[in-house]
Amino acid sequence: MNYEEILSQKTQAIKFSGIRKFFDIAASVKDVISLSVGEPDFKTPFIIRKEAIKTLEKGKTAYTSNAGLESLRSSIAGYLNETIGVEYDPKHEIIVTVGGSEAIDAAFRALLNPGDEVLVCEPSFVCYDPLIRLADGVPVPIETKQENKFKLMPEQLLAAITPKTKALVLPFPNNPTGAVMRRDELADIAAILRERDIIVISDEIYSELTYGDEKHVSISEFEGMKERTIVINGFSKAFAMTGWRLGFAAGPAPIITQMLKIHQYGIMSAPTVSQYAAVTALRECRADIDYMVGEYDMRRKLIVNGFNEMGLECFEPEGAFYVFPCIKSTGLSSQDFCLRLIEEKKVAVVPGDAFGECGEGYIRVSYAYSINHIISALKRIREFINELDG
């Protein structure tokens, strides 16, 4: 049977991501120490796990309503009000999804008509481009630059907008660069979008992991922006709940209603046990988040300093748990750097070009690892750099 003819052209044209490809290589080498994964090294706080166990013991194993448990949607509304100061109606403006990724997928499918353009800040999470294509949209990358601290600049946005622009993906705090958009910078972006019918898909999955005294800011906070913004967030990163597969979207009712249709036919409802546990997460885990953020912050400083000391210029990230050092000084491509690092020193990091072409010349290094692990990995990378020079 000729599967190529049978299978969807659109789907076949989508490639597995550069992260996946690289993980496959790393998995084949023995005794690799990794700084590559994109999930917390912390376990889900115990109180959340206990709530899940209790839920199972009580036999709450049925579907929930399609949009998610009412108590969870109310808690999410409360959480958003508390953290970004925007009020969402839990009945019509919030939907609970299977991770942030499902919410992103549903948002594209709810918004896009064939040929619609979606502006995507790059480097960024690998899922936007393929999901836009699967929804018949056209991804239009906007390259954020190191000299701008990998932030989206207003002039770049203006230059990229065409009559076909339907949406903007605003992924901050950013994976892989660690960049964040501060209040005044978002104000400039909001000023441009406010006059236009462009929807912002604001992927704020790393919002809690924002370092320094200034808190995370969402573009939906700005005047006229709530009606133009779908806020995507979830429990994976902030609460160390990646395996629970739970995220959410908050946005204008007409958009959420369409997303709900897609969700209801494709998913039915997000995992019930996870939803009950998530209510506990939102209500009782502020101290756990603060502890984890404090730990990440120390590691962040340690790893940035480590790369700068070995001569790999490293932008100081202000969010998420990645650093994105520049490796251009080695003369190697991102791919070659990572392949040789894994072969010669058995350290796995992810080539920057996996996150968009403009990530070439960089590597993504995760610091969701213990301090000891980071120190020994840095030592190996330093040896690698020294041997390259020598």
């Binding site: 991501s17 994964v37 999930e39 400083k301």
Partner: protein, 159 residues
């Protein structure tokens, strides 16, 4: 909470440089702070957490509950400080509850620990009774989990 103390508690081998970077201070400041902690007796020493049974398969560690009759004037201090002087003794604590002193003893084999209890500990004046508990397996010590219990199970999973 003192972050420096917390970091050292987990890993006393972090360099002043590493500590300084993580805490946003200079290595000199760290050096000074550690010296102060030591001088004030807040940090009284540094030691490695050893996977004893891996180092020596016959090695034995025991917790011994001791009941003693407190002495006039000195209470439990005399017996406790005397016990602390034995090289076999790792820790000595005065406890609340159904016994008085808890002593940790490490020996190169079972017999050595047994003899220590019968020949050295039990005959001490004031020791009323002892109960010896042997460690069968270590899971966590000084905040550090022992290896092989749980590896990093995060797979290299990604979209």
């Amino acid at each position: 909470m003192n972050k420096l103390v917390e970091l050292l508690r987990k890993n006393a081998r972090l360099t002043n440089n590493e500590l300084a970077v993580m805490l946003g201070k200079t290595p000199e400041e760290i050096e000074k702070e550690i010296a102060e902690l030591e001088n004030e007796g807040l940090i009284i020493g540094y030691s490695a957490v050893i996977n004893e049974e891996e180092v020596d398969r016959n090695s034995v560690t025991a917790f011994i509950e001791i009941k003693v009759s407190p002495q006039a004037e000195h209470g439990y201090d005399d017996i406790a400080t005397m016990l602390a002087q034995y090289k076999e003794v790792d820790s000595v604590y005065l406890m609340s509850g159904s016994f008085d002193l808890s002593v940790t003893i490490r020996g190169t084999n079972l017999r050595e620990v047994a003899l220590f209890v019968s020949d050295k500990l039990a005959p001490i004046d004031g020791v009323l009774s002892t109960t010896t508990h042997f460690i069968l397996r270590r899971f966590k010590e000084k905040g550090i989990e022992f290896p092989l219990i749980e590896d990093d199970e995060r797979g290299m999973v990604g979209p």
